[in-house]
């Protein structure tokens, strides 16, 4: 399983990818939507974990663009804020939302679920 993690909180992204790596999951992390777009062109990812709120293009806006480039890639949203827009603006397929702070086991479970 290969994952792309997009979050502007650099240290958080770094830490989370380290933890996932420790659990045998291959993770690339970037801090902006632009970097993410560039990344998917050269790599094949099974799942994208997107932070909803980022400077510039946020997760919700980024998701369809990534989908267009990599059809079939699953998406999980991370949110530090529980506004209505966060939860309803995503496409129908993007059914998974996780609130920060995360429970790592929950994330692993969901990752397995989406990649099955």
């Amino acid at each position: 399983m290969k994952i792309l993690l997009v979050d502007d909180e650099k240290k958080f992204a770094m830490m989370l990818s380290k933890r996932l790596a420790l659990r045998g999951i291959e993770v690339d992390y970037v801090f902006t939507a632009e970097e993410a777009m560039a990344k998917v062109e050269s790599n094949k990812y099974d799942v994208a974990i997107l932070d909803v709120k980022m400077p510039g293009i946020g997760g919700i806006e980024l998701e369809p663009k990534l989908k267009a480039l990599v059809p079939g890639m699953k998406t999980i949203f991370l949110t530090g804020h529980g506004s209505a827009a966060d939860f309803t603006a995503g496409s129908a397929e993007a059914a998974y939302y996780l609130a920060k702070p995360l429970q790592i086991d929950e994330l692993i479970e969901i990752l397995h679920e989406v990649t099955q």
Binding site: M15, L22, R23, F87, A99, P101, L102
Partner: protein, 593 residues
């Protein structure tokens, strides 16, 4: 019986008199409604009663004046008429004597037969004469005609004789004299051809005079009599003394005309006295004619009218005061109720605003905290991962334990921030048809064991008239769960918890959750929906439960209110619309406008 009466009185008592809800005080426009009520009644009553009182007093005075002047006029008229009658009586007889001495010579007058004949003729012509006598200039009675034997009597030493010699005519007071019978003497002096003089004297009966006077007496409260100028009663009086007694009234000042005065008599009774000093054209007399009328007696009709007016005025005053009091009470109460509604609305609005602003702040803070919290979480998680997965420090239990503390604390913070966010989040409402009975049963399932264990009696009473309602099942469940959990925490073992639901109007239902637990003081009531307000021990409650409940009820377009008394229990009442969809549509329309 007394209890029921008190109950009735209590229901009559206006709300403003015993105002409750102290926490609303700052929002009231007026503070002292009892004062407004009192001042209102006073001003209205004064405005209404003052003109009535003034008019009544003026009316009384006018009536009094007119009655007085009427009484004076009547008394004066009687006195004047009686004076003319008495004057005429005396004058007529004096004139008769004058005519006699001018017409008949001394010789015939002293002839007993002629003299007796003269008396008879005078009696026939005028009446009221008892006897006649001729007295010589030396004071010796030289001729007498009449029933007594008074010939030869010497009058030279008597006062009347001396006065008559000086004045030519004389009218005496009434006195007893030699005959010991009340009588009046009238006398005329005349001259004989030889230059000496003699006096023709007649004695008048007093009965004729008394009869004449009596004919002027009007009514039982009136009195008419003659008194001498020295105040001796000359005819008997009903109230002021008998014949020859001292008159019980002061002797009036001399006046040539008939006079009337108002005064009190010796016994303090107010009377009107008409008097006249009797004086004929020929001679002055010693008589004062007195006419009295007692005011009280004469004013009977007026007093009756007076009493009628008093009753009418008294009744009017009572009606005015009653109407003023009732009107004032109703108006002040309306004012109070309007003010209270306004105060409630303002308090609710302020609470809403406060909650909204606190909610925004809370959400902002929560969001800002969430990111660092997430970092702590991941960092601590990574450290733990290093311990557990890489087994580098897996032997060091103490380190592992401390890492767990950090993770637990982060998890707890996460719960709080999620709750805060949930409070402000406008997540979608999923409307479905909900059976209240089912929802309440679902909620109570969570507490079944506790109720059993703590012996808490849970009574559920859902009215059969309640239809299925359109609402968000999950949120309603959360609301009820919060309130039921609170109630369970508030009651002691063996207490009661009642859940009732009733239709309210056509479009609403109300759900009441009441317990007979510890209740809460009034000062807490207004704060319980505020975020972070808790009465629980530190760390036991977040103070967000009821805030979230409040927010949820508002999202369901409902209302929540609370009543509580310390040590008696608490009651939460939730009102929800039956058709939430419709309410939301209305809301959208009103916003869209």
């Amino acid at each position: 019986m007394i209890g029921r009466f008190r109950q009735l009185l209590g229901s009559l008592r206006p709300e403003f008199y015993h105002r409750t809800s102290e926490h609303l005080n700052p929002y009231f426009t007026f503070t002292d409604y009892r004062k407004i009520w009192g001042v209102g009644i006073f001003l209205l009553a004064v405005t209404a009663l003052l003109p009535l009182m003034v008019v009544t007093v003026i009316y009384y005075q006018l009536i009094q004046k007119s009655v007085d002047s009427e009484l004076i006029l009547r008394t004066e008229r009687v006195a004047s008429n009686a004076r003319r009658a008495v004057t005429f009586f005396l004058e007529e007889r004096l004139n008769a004597l004058r005519f006699t001495v001018n017409e008949i010579d001394y010789g015939r007058l002293t002839n007993p037969d002629d003299f007796a004949e003269l008396l008879r003729n005078l009696k026939l012509g005028f009446g009221g004469l008892t006897d006649l006598s001729v007295i010589s200039h030396a004071g010796i009675q030289v001729a007498y005609a009449g029933p007594f034997h008074l010939e030869g009597k010497d009058y030279s030493k008597q006062a009347w004789f001396a006065e008559c010699q000086n004045c030519n005519f004389y009218v005496s007071e009434i006195f007893r004299g030699y005959r010991d019978l009340p009588h009046i003497i009238i006398a005329v002096k005349s001259f004989r051809p030889d230059g000496t003089h003699f006096i023709l004297r007649a004695t008048l009966e007093t009965e004729r005079l008394i009869q004449t006077l009596s004919s002027y007496k009007t009514g039982e409260h009136a009195d008419i009599f003659l008194a001498s100028r020295s105040g001796i009663m000359q005819t008997p009086s009903k109230f002021y003394g008998d014949l020859f007694e001292k008159m019980a009234l002061p002797v009036p000042d001399y006046s040539p005309r008939t006079q009337t005065v108002m005064a009190a008599d010796g016994q303090g009774r107010p009377i009107i006295t008409g008097y006249a000093f009797i004086s004929t054209q020929i001679a002055d007399t010693p008589f004062i004619l007195m006419v009295t009328k007692q005011k009280a007696g004469m004013m009977g009709v007026w007093l009756e009218l007076h009493s009628n007016i008093n009753w009418f005025v008294g009744f009017s005053i009572m009606v005015i005061i009653l109407v003023v009091t009732v009107t004032c009470t109703l108006m002040v109460n309306k004012l109070y109720l309007a003010d209270r509604d306004k105060a409630e609305a303002m308090a609710a609005m302020e609470q809403n605003n406060q909650l909204a602003s606190i909610g925004q702040l809370a959400a902002g803070v929560a969001h800002e905290i969430n990111n660092p919290l997430a970092l702590i979480n991941e960092t601590a998680g990574y450290v733990k991962d290093l311990f557990v997965i890489k087994e580098q420090y897996s032997k060091d239990d103490e380190l592992l334990e401390n890492i767990d503390y950090i993770l637990e604390a982060v998890a707890r913070c996460g719960t709080i921030t999620r709750q805060l966010l949930g409070f402000s989040r406008k997540f979608d409402v999923k409307i479905q048809r909900v059976n209240l009975n089912e929802v309440i049963s679902d909620v109570l399932v969570f507490h079944n064991k506790e109720a059993e264990y703590r012996n808490v009696n849970v009574f559920v009473d859902i009215s059969k008239d309640i239809p299925e309602i359109e609402t968000d099942r999950g949120k309603l469940q959360q609301v009820l769960l919060n309130l039921v959990s609170n109630a369970f925490q508030a009651v002691d073992n063996g207490c009661n918890l009642d859940i009732t639901a009733l239709p309210e109007g056509v479009n609403k239902v109300s759900i009441t959750i009441s317990d007979n637990g510890c209740g809460m003081p009034e000062e807490n009531l207004s704060k319980i929906f505020e975020p972070f307000f808790t009465t629980k021990e530190r760390g036991k409650g977040t103070g967000l439960g009821l805030t979230i409940t409040y927010g949820l009820v508002k999202k369901l377009h409902g209302n929540i209110s609370v009543k509580s008394r310390e040590n008696e229990g608490t009651e939460f009442i939730i009102t929800l619309p039956i058709h939430l969809q419709e309410e939301m549509r209305k809301d959208e329309n009103s916003f869209g406008r």
